[in-house]
Symmetry: C2
Subunit: 196 residues, 2 copies
DNA sequence: GTTCATTTAGAACCTCGCTTCTAGTTGGGA
DNA sequence: TCCCAACTAGAAGCGAGGTTCTAAATGAAC
C-alpha cells in the first residue's frame, strides 16, 4: 500500500556515524542528510528532531558496545570474566572507532535529565543488563556483592579501561594498551579481596 | 588616561566557569555576561570571540591543574613522585570541581587544529612542562626514558587517574577513589620495570 | 576644568542550522 | 487504470546566539 522507504533507519544512523566522525559532536542534520544522500526533510519522517536522531545513534552504539561486554561476562570463572570484560573495551574501540566515538556523544547521567520524554526510559535502563551481569560476576568472585564492591568492580572493568582508551578514541588504539588495561583491572579488583 | 576596567579578565573567566557549571559546554556569551554582571558587548573588548574566551578559560584551567602536578613531580624519589602526581588528579577534581569541568571543554589534539591562529602556539605547548617533568622522573625511575616507557608513564600518571575520576568530574569525587588510583598507577608503572 | 582614549552599555544585525511547509513521486491495491 | 498513503525533495521560515554598531560614561593626564 505504502511506498517502500528508500533508506532504512539503520542507514540513516550509519550516515550519522559518518557525520560525527567528520564533523565531531556538532555534526548537523544537513551533514547526516548529505552522508546518506537524502534531502533534509526526509530525516524528519524517521526522527522528530535532531536530538532524537543523535540519541538513537548513541543508544544503538551503546547496545553494540554492550554485546561484547555481556558475552565476556558469561565466562564461568569470575576473574577471567571480569578481566575479559575490561579487555573488551580497548578491543572494541580498536575494531569500531566510529562507534566508539559515538559513545562519547552523550553521558547517561546528563541525558536522563535532558532527553525527550519518550526516550528517557530507554536511556535510564540502557546500562541495566551490564550492571546485572557485573553484579552476578561480582557475587561469584567475592562471595557477596556489597554496594562498595560493586562500585569497585564497575571501576575496575568499566571506568578504568574506558579511561585508558579515551585519549585514543576515534583513532588507532595501540596494542600495548591491552596489557595496561589488564594489570590495572587486576590491581583494582584485588582491592576487593577480603584480606586487602 | 584611560578609564579603568570594571571587570578584570580573571573575573570574566570566573564567570565563564560558573556559566559552564550551570549550562554545560554549550554556555553562551550571554550566560557569561549575566554571570559577571556586564552587558554582552563588554565581553568583546577583552576577547575577540566566544572561542577565544572559552579557550582562554581552558588554558587557565589547565595551568591551574598543572601547578599541583608539577609540584608533585619535584619529589626526589621517582616512585613517590609519579604516584603523587597520579593522586593529585582525583584530589584536584575534588577540590576544584568547576575547574575540573572546564578541563573537559576541549581536547588538546582537536584544539591544535581548530584554534584561532594566535592561540595555537600556546595550545600546542601547554603540556610541555608536565611532559618534561615526567620525562625526568621517568629517567630517574627506569634509568633511561625510552619512548615506550614515556608512554607508559603518561598512561600510568595521567590517562589512568584521569579516566578513573572522569565519571565523577563536576560532582563529588569519592574518597575511596584515591586508593584505586594508587594501585592502578603502581601496577601500570611496574610494567616498565626491566624484569617485567 | 578640559581633553580624550578606553570601556561600558545595550540594542541591532546577521549567520547558521533546526524545523516546517508545499509540491511532486512512487508503487501496491481495488 | 485510478487511487492514495507514504515518502522524497528542496525551499522557506524561524529562533537562538555570536558579533557588531552607536552612544554614553568615566577618570587620568594636562
Amino acid at each position: 500500500m505504502a511506498r517502500p522507504q528508500k533508506f532504512t533507519t539503520d542507514q540513516i544512523l550509519d550516515a550519522a556515524l559518518t557525520a560525527v566522525q567528520q564533523h565531531g559532536p556538532a555534526a548537523t542534520m544537513a551533514d547526516v542528510a548529505r552522508a546518506v544522500g537524502a534531502p533534509m526533510g526526509s530525516m524528519y519522517y524517521r526522527f522528530p528532531s535532531r536530538e532524537h536522531l543523535f540519541i538513537a545513534l548513541w543508544l544503538r552504539s551503546i547496545r553494540h558496545f554492550h554485546a561484547g561486554l555481556l558475552e565476556a561476562l558469561t565466562i564461568e570463572d569470575p576473574r577471567t570474566a571480569l578481566v575479559a570484560a575490561a579487555r573488551h573495551i580497548p578491543r572494541f574501540c580498536r575494531a569500531h572507532p566510529d562507534v566508539a566515538l559515538a559513545l562519547t556523544l552523550y553521558r547517561q547521567t546528563r541525558l536522563v535529565q535532558s532527553a525527550p520524554a519518550e526516550l528517557v526510559e530507554e536511556v535510564r535502563t540502557i546500562n541495566e543488563p551490564v550492571l546485572e551481569a557485573m553484579a552476578r560476576a561480582c557475587t561469584r568472585r567475592f562471595g557477596r556483592a556489597t554496594p562498595k564492591r560493586l562500585d569497585l568492580v564497575r571501576t575496575a572493568c568499566q571506568a578504568s579501561p574506558y579511561g585508558l582508551v579515551r585519549p585514543y578514541v576515534g583513532g588507532p588504539v595501540p596494542l600495548w594498551l591491552d596489557a595496561v588495561v589488564t594489570v590495572s583491572t587486576e590491581a583494582i579488583l584485588a582491592l576487593g579481596d577480603p584480606g586487602a
